[in-house]
């Protein structure tokens, strides 16, 4: 395995994609057994499994001589995770989980659609599978945004509150850095800033239909891509990683 810059770019880029999905997948999995109704409990677990499956494949691309997908997932510290801050926030109430799922899935769908033409064949293959899953996630979460926002006064207020809390984390999804530019130049990745306007074309009309107001945000929260996380990620990882760390190399 060579240490060429290209290999580093592919590894770091796949790690970033994988971390977004691993962390969000774990947050979704926290609903297992706690969903508002049996059918939705299953739906949330299904989406969690889709995301963790994507993460497994992407971390597999990021893995190398000294790391496997499992060691990347379970043996890294919070500072080594490169997910966007939005996905690590606690699951909150059902409205918060749904709004986040909608905002992220729309982003993921656009990103994966573009990645199907990545010059890196394994990434393109993973993206082709992920596109179908993301399409369903957008449809499912979007329908729920409409249902909750159009429900009772309380469900509408909670949905709006979730949007108010989450909106300041959307900017980070589209902020291109050095790695994004290198991955894009190599034909491996997608410049996330080019996803912003198509994302608004998906998200804004649905929020409008739902009667929700997009909050005015002065400063977007960032830092996840360079390992500066909220306090929440460490707590989440402690729970997610404890079995693998307590019993290294165990298989089941």
């Amino acid at each position: 395995m060579s240490n060429s810059p290209d290999r580093d770019v592919v590894r770091d880029y796949a790690l970033r994609l994988g971390d977004d999905r691993l962390v969000l997948g774990h947050r979704l999995s926290e609903w297992c057994g706690h969903g508002p109704i049996l059918e939705e409990d299953i739906a949330l677990a299904n989406m969690a499994l889709d995301l963790i499956g994507q993460a497994n494949a992407l971390l597999g691309v990021a893995a190398g001589p000294d790391a496997t997908a499992d060691s990347l997932a379970y043996m890294r510290e919070a500072v080594d995770f490169k997910n966007a801050l939005m996905v690590e926030l606690p699951k909150g109430d059902f409205g918060f989980t749904i709004v986040r799922q909608f905002l992220f899935s729309a982003y993921s769908l656009l990103q994966m659609e573009r990645l199907t033409s990545s010059s890196h064949a394994p990434l393109a293959g993973i993206a082709a599978k992920a596109v179908k899953e993301a399409k369903y996630h957008v449809r499912h979460a979007g329908e729920w945004v409409l249902t909750l926002a159009g429900g009772t006064d309380e469900s509408h207020a909670r949905t709006q509150q979730a949007l108010d809390e989450l909106w300041r984390y959307t900017g980070e999804l589209f902020a291109a850095d050095e790695l994004d530019r290198a991955a894009t130049a190599a034909g491996v990745g997608v410049d996330p800033s080019t996803l912003q306007s198509p994302w608004h074309a998906i998200v804004d009309p649905l929020l409008e239909r739902a009667g929700l107001e997009i909050p005015a945000v002065k400063a977007m929260q960032t830092g996840g891509r360079v390992g500066r996380h909220t306090e929440h990620l460490g707590h989440m990882l402690a729970e997610m990683q404890i079995v693998a760390r307590s019993y290294p190399g165990a298989s089941w």
């Binding site: 059918e39 299953i42 299904n46 329908e143 249902t147």
Partner: protein, 96 residues
């Protein structure tokens, strides 16, 4: 649990990949047709069991009752002339 705290019930019909008729698979709770379709997909059809899903509000189904047993289903067995068993199927006819 009081039934009025439950969402409306929908019956789920799946068409298996072979292109056969839709078959009853079970039921789901949902507040709208779209949600019923999604719940049916998540509960019954996410491992490739189907190529098409129908959902029908359970209240739209008119069903026979146990009282109908006699008049509905009894007559068949003692009226053998209703069964086409006296006819020979011509050679070359398939799928009967």
């Amino acid at each position: 649990m009081a039934t009025d705290t439950q969402w409306p019930l929908w019956e789920v019909f799946l068409q298996p990949p072979k292109g056969e008729a839709h078959e009853h698979a079970g039921s789901v709770h949902a507040t709208s047709a779209e949600q019923a379709l999604q719940n049916a997909r998540d509960v019954y059809a996410r491992r490739g069991e189907a190529v098409s899903i129908w959902v029908v509000p359970s209240t739209s189904i008119t069903a026979s009752t146990p009282d109908d047993m006699g008049p509905f289903f009894d007559p068949g067995n003692d009226k053998p002339y209703r069964h086409p068993q006296f006819y020979k199927v011509p050679r070359g006819v398939r799928g009967v």
